[in-house]
Amino acid sequence: MSKIVILGAGISGHVAASHLRRKLSKEHEVLVVSPNSNYQWIPSNIWVGVGRMKSKEILFPLAPLYKKKGIRYKQAKAITFHPEGDKTEQKPYILAEYVVGEKKGQQEKVTYDYLINATGPKLNFEATEGLTPGLNKTYSVCTYTHADHAWEGLNDLIQQMKQGKKVKILIGTGHAKATCQGAAFEYILNVEQELRRHKVRDMAEVTWISNEYQLGDFGMDGMLLSYGSMTMKSSEMVGMIFEDRDIKWILGVGVDKIENGIAYYENLDGEHKKEKYDFAMLIPSFSGHGFKAFDKNNEDVTSKLFKGFMIVDADYTSKPYEDWSVKDWPETYQNPSYQNIFAPGIAFAPPHAISKPRKSKNGTAIFPAPPRTGMPSGITAKLVADNIIDSIKSGKDTAHHKGSLGNMGAACIASAGFGITQGSGVSITTYPIVPDYEKYPKTQGRQLGKTFGEIGLAGHWLKLALHYAFIYKAKMRPFWWLIPE
């Protein structure tokens, strides 16, 4: 029998656990180690943050589901990695610490035959001075609890606006190298729509602030896309939406400090400026969790496993932007030093950014880090699970399931406002996610037709349908596996 340990129960970890359990016989053990008690469908946090959904609608407890499905579960957090075991434990293990219950604070060696690191990112709020959700009038929608707080703050502001107060709202990225611009993009459009619904839109100045060089970069270097019968740049599409909704924008800036109602930032010209606000939702930078790894002699081997995030089969050679290739990106998400360790989803270290790196005149790097959203997280988790399943079943080493972000499509259904008849969504698909300039040299590295955008009510319905479909899938209801990742 084999024992597969999965660290994390987010989209990536949960997908891997679900597929492993479904396809492997009960003699093999699937164990999830996660400090979180709930599964949350993160894309719907946007709607929690504008009060159109309750957080309980986007989450469910993991323990009962895992018990029912035969997946073992420990509510604990990983502390250190021991991929060779140690002097007393022959098998590789991770040291985990329980976070709740009677065992809270106790540490345990969790051995494994295969390890899937799906710990996602650390929300690195500390990297920006003063950026703390709920303090200094700044909020976040990165988790459901953050989104709940954001709605409390926004609702309070709306009530003040109804009393006649004019306000400034600032939404975007809270660090020079933040990613996840898509979430902030959705949130600003939803907030703008809610202001109109509450009939206070004329009382607010709404501003987008971002480390993107151009609108619509989204950490993917922007894209050329089909829009109806036209071909347009994502910058033009987002510019059209923002102008139409009277949203101002500040681009190419790194927010480096927050005070109560003031965001300080540096722009690419090297100027230090500030922007006042009454409500801000700023996405923090993401980082690895700072795990340490040790070999059997207790020597530090962290550099074999981590480069911030986990090292996988990518080409991490340092090279200039002009020499970046789609081939640099990983295909199997397997650690080259310890080949029974994998890191799908957001847990792997990207070889480099996707957007062109830019520095301010002061030398500050200001550009988006690469995004890795739910869809590729699910796809990469499934292919990692499939490779492990094949290896166990065949008894042979195999890694024939591959999925480079340079040969994978993704859909971003960005909500632009909630409502069955008044809602809106911006539906964008991108193929491939990482531009392949060799294959598609004349269309900015992407295939037109498969890279397209649409705006309208159908986009809202689509996002709502995905919300229900993916929660159904995550709950492992009948025939859940028929729904693609």
Binding site: M1, M240, D244, T398, A399, K402, G409, A410, W461, P484
Partner: protein, 53 residues
């Protein structure tokens, strides 16, 4: 505020009947793009080690 989306465009974007058909069309198109398969971009001699059977 600059009106960048014409009244006719907006009508099409928000008309439930038109958008119902758009919903079907988008669902299929997105499925084709996303579920249409994925793969590698290079040859890699990467193998999974099976430690314990």
């Amino acid at each position: 505020m600059t009106q960048r989306i014409s009244k006719y465009q907006r009508f099409k974007m928000m008309n439930p009947i038109i958008q119902f058909f758009k919903f079907i069309y988008l669902s299929i198109k997105i499925m084709v793009v996303v579920a249409g398969g994925h793969g590698g971009t290079r040859e890699v001699k990467s193998k999974v080690s099976k430690l314990v059977s």
